[in-house]
């Protein structure tokens, strides 16, 4: 399989004779991360190049400790980069910001706030120009989209993990980020709830088409959600090992996908990579 992202980012893409100045939403260029330790530097990531296009959903799969989460938190701006660059729409990132929404592995809601207030926290931040009613509508819209229209005024601490993560999804979409970063958001849930939330996520995503980068260790989840699955090699000095294009049409239904001829082919490819 050709590693088509290993070359440098072109400034102009010509596709079907049309010039796109920046079809690239997120650009990781020669990214490097080093943690100093008493026994010399520990290189987590090195020479990592990846370009993610507008409206693309990319999942990243790899073994735990391979530096996936480090990479994602660097994109989020929560972890300083040691070398190379990260840019969003050709602008290098400076620290964290609401243009890159993050859904964390734990829902990390403020437990003392209601679901609505949790979503509102971010909405107020990025829609200071909106009316109070409008802001509330935004929150309610996304909360109802994740199936929580009966629980606007429930305290986050009263909800189950799965319900809390739904709020996490609503909160991330409600601030209309340019890029959505998901760090194993369903890793702590059982597989039925995980499936439900994948459906919730992909349903909103189908409407909004926000460029998304998601870390997962679940092969089926990676295939179901993604346009491309990026496989990372194990650390130290982790980099991109392989990329798999998933050519299922959207919107996808889980049922039709698992019966598709290619499904188990993709699955085998990913499991092969992970096993070796």
């Amino acid at each position: 399989m050709a590693l088509k992202t290993q070359h440098k980012r072109p400034d102009i893409i010509i596709e079907n004779g049309i010039q796109y100045t920046s079809k690239v939403m997120l650009d990781l260029n020669d990214l490097k991360k080093v943690y100093p330790t008493p026994n010399g530097d520990y290189v987590v990531l090195e020479n990592l190049n990846l370009q993610i296009m507008k409206e693309e959903f990319v999942t990243i799969i790899g073994h735990s400790g391979c530096g996936k989460t480090t990479m994602l938190s660097m994109i989020a701006g929560l972890n300083p980069i040691s070398g190379g660059s990260i840019s969003v729409l050709s602008n290098p990132i400076k620290g964290p910001g609401p243009d890159r929404g993050v859904i964390f592995q734990s829902p990390s809601l403020m437990p003392w706030l209601t679901t609505l207030e949790n979503v509102m926290l971010g909405v107020r931040q990025v829609f200071p120009h909106a009316k109070k009613k409008e802001r509330e509508d935004i929150c309610k819209y996304y909360l109802s989209k994740v199936g929580l229209d009966g629980s606007f005024h429930k305290k986050a601490s009263e909800l189950s993990q799965g319900m809390q993560q739904r709020v996490g999804i609503a909160r991330a979409f409600a601030i209309k980020p340019k890029v959505l970063l998901l760090d194993e958001p369903f890793g702590m849930l059982d597989s039925l709830t995980r499936g439900e939330l994948q459906d919730v996520l992909i349903e909103i995503w189908n409407k909004e088409k926000i460029t998304a980068v998601m870390i997962t260790h679940d092969v089926d989840e990676a295939i179901f959600l993604a346009d491309r699955v990026v496989m990372m090699t194990s650390g130290p000095s982790a980099k991109i090992g392989d990329i798999l294009d998933i050519d299922f049409q959207r919107p996808r239904s889980r049922k039709s996908i698992i019966e598709h001829d290619d499904y188990y082919k993709y699955r085998k490819h990913l499991i092969d990579f992970l096993e070796h």
């Binding site: 073994h63 990025v126 679940d218 188990y264």
Partner: protein
């Protein structure tokens, strides 16, 4: 009569108006030497089911029969491996296993017990870490200790309550293989509770879904007609695997759809663009 039998078992917590029936009408037969997986989801009453079988709980109605006799309490014949390892943090690996061995073989001499502890620690490849305490071990290693402890008591049946749920995929895979190896050696009867369909298919002879509670019941069983030893990678080409897996997943999806509620009110989204401040 089957090795382990649950006949019309129900379990209710609380009484009067506050009563909730967690499990209702559970019927299950497990033959000797069989490996059965129950796939259930959080809140579906899995733990209650496990506790009924290991004897920590008594059913409200119905009966749990083990080798022809109703279960009245815990027994060394049924070893349990819990998800949270439940090791004693102030004891070393050796001591943790040793406590269980002393309990099971009080009459045997010291040498016998020592050998037995060492043998089982070796079986789960922990000999290098034998004098370490749980907090120095990774999650996977802790679960290995817990497995060694359960098996060293020489149970006839192993009950595993989501033993690998908290581990990462790679460790999970390795431990699955280890459990299967041990099970293969002397074909003990095994019951695995898991939320991972693939784990169930890889390990078990039969998979039975537990429909979410309250009033959780067992769904239709799926037989796994795949020869052992099974290989994770080549399974993907096995038509039997695909068929069984899709069958189970579709069944679970149906359950999931029953659970979800439909939205009632349609909220409209104001047409606004966010402002970012750098």
């Amino acid at each position: 009569m089957a090795y382990l039998e649950l006949n019309n078992v129900s379990k209710t917590y609380g009484k009067g108006a506050n009563a909730t029936e967690v499990l209702s009408n559970i019927n299950l037969q497990i033959e000797e030497g069989e490996f059965v997986a129950i796939v259930g989801f959080s809140g579906s009453g899995k733990t209650t089911l496990v506790n009924l079988i290991n004897g920590l709980l008594q059913p409200t109605s119905g009966e749990v029969i083990f080798k022809g006799n109703p279960i009245t309490g815990t027994s060394h014949e049924r070893g349990v491996i819990f998800q949270n390892y439940s090791l004693l943090p102030w004891l070393t690996v050796y001591q943790n296993v040793s406590v269980a061995v002393k309990e099971t073989f009080p009459k045997e001499n010291k040498k016998f017990r020592e050998n037995r502890v060492k043998e089982y620690i070796n079986m789960v490849n922990l000999t290098p870490a034998i004098h370490k305490r749980p907090k120095e071990l990774s999650g996977g290693m802790r679960q290995r200790v817990s497995i060694a402890r359960a098996l060293a008591m020489d149970p006839e049946m192993i009950i595993m309550d989501e033993p690998l749920g908290a581990l990462d995929a790679l460790t999970r895979g390795n431990l699955q293989d280890e459990i299967l190896n041990i099970w293969n050696k002397d074909k003990r009867t095994a019951l695995l509770i898991t939320n991972d369909v693939d784990e169930g298919i890889y390990m078990a002879d039969r998979i039975i879904p537990l429909r979410p509670g309250p009033n959780a019941t067992l769904g239709p069983e799926f037989k796994i007609n795949i020869d052992r030893p099974r290989d994770k990678t080549s399974l993907n080409d096995d038509p039997e695997f695909k068929k069984t897996r899709n069958g189970i997943i579709e069944y679970l999806m149906e359950i999931g759809e029953e659970r979800t509620t439909t939205e009632t009110i349609e909220y409209t989204l104001p047409d606004l663009e966010p402002k970012y401040f750098d």
